[in-house]
């Protein structure tokens, strides 16, 4: 499995016809998506960002800030990963020190509420 590489287009006989030369992009996969579609898709992702990160991105996604929003999304995923790591660590520590029965009772109570 090699890393994603948009620059290597799949072999496609259509690339050598006159009509395909008109498309600006050499990458056959991306030329099917318009800028508008791309911005719309990125907008949808933008709605998942929490409030704190939205202040830099409260404007609608345009060609100008699409890359910024994508970057923000990547950074957000990384921070979520870190949070899960931290919580895993804390949970594993708590596993050792927690009194089993009282913990069980507390958990069951909270899940039933």
């Amino acid at each position: 499995m090699h890393s994603s590489s948009f620059s290597s287009a799949p072999p496609d006989h259509r690339r050598f016809t006159m009509s395909s030369r008109r498309s600006r992009s050499r990458h056959s996969a991306s030329s099917r998506i318009t800028d508008e579609q791309m911005n719309e898709l990125i907008s949808k992702l933008q709605t998942l960002l929490p409030e704190a990160r939205l202040h830099t991105n409260d404007r609608p996604v345009t060609n100008a800030n699409a890359a910024k929003v994508l970057q923000e999304i990547c950074s957000y995923i990384r921070s979520l990963h870190r949070e899960v790591d931290n919580l895993s660590e804390r949970l594993s520590e708590l596993l050792e020190t927690t009194d089993n029965n009282s913990a069980q009772a507390a958990i069951i109570r909270s899940l039933l509420m």
């Binding site: 499995m1 090699h2 890393s3 994603s4 590489s5 948009f6 992009s25 990458h27 996969a29 991306s30 998506i33 579609q37 791309m38 898709l41 990125i42 949808k44 992702l45 998942l48 060609n63 699409a66 890359a67 994508l70 970057q71 999304i73 990547c74 957000y76 995923i77 990384r78 979520l80 990963h81 949070e83 899960v84 790591d85 919580l87 895993s88 660590e89 804390r90 949970l91 594993s92 520590e93 708590l94 596993l95 050792e96 020190t97 927690t98 009194d99 089993n100 029965n101 009282s102 913990a103 009772a105 507390a106 958990i107 909270s110 899940l111």
Partner: protein, 166 residues
Amino acid sequence: MSKTALRPSPKKWHTDREQNIYSSKLIETLRRIRRSSPKAEDLRRSRVVREAADRILAVAGRGRTRWSRAILFSRNLKIKHSRPRKAVYFPAQPKKRRRSQVLKCKAGVLGRLVPGCRKLSFPTLLEEASDYIAALQMQVRAMASLTAILSASGGFSSPDPDRFAP
């Protein structure tokens, strides 16, 4: 090409029901971990917890998304394969790069962050990413809430006479 029957639905990650199911399964697994390796090193146990949390999250995905399938299948590979990484090229003046190139670069980064999504088309990648983010958010909520409950009850741990019963 579109698999409408298998389209992921990010909305379910926001429901209490899904979160409770996740929490229950996680607790069950945590108890099993605690029983099986009481003297495990902190680092190793933390990793076991993380992997269990991810696996349970992937199972909750019901196999509808690539990221969830990728997590489940990657557990079969015990060895973490490290492939030689391409040297990343940072041009001296990044602003001069074409916008399409910049977007592709960022999309590539996103593809590497979401499990199993390295070589996807842009729309599919964003669809996977949005489901993945929603799932991660639920995972964080569930684990944070569990941590809060356990640390609260752990703080008041009083010796339970039944524990020492034969």
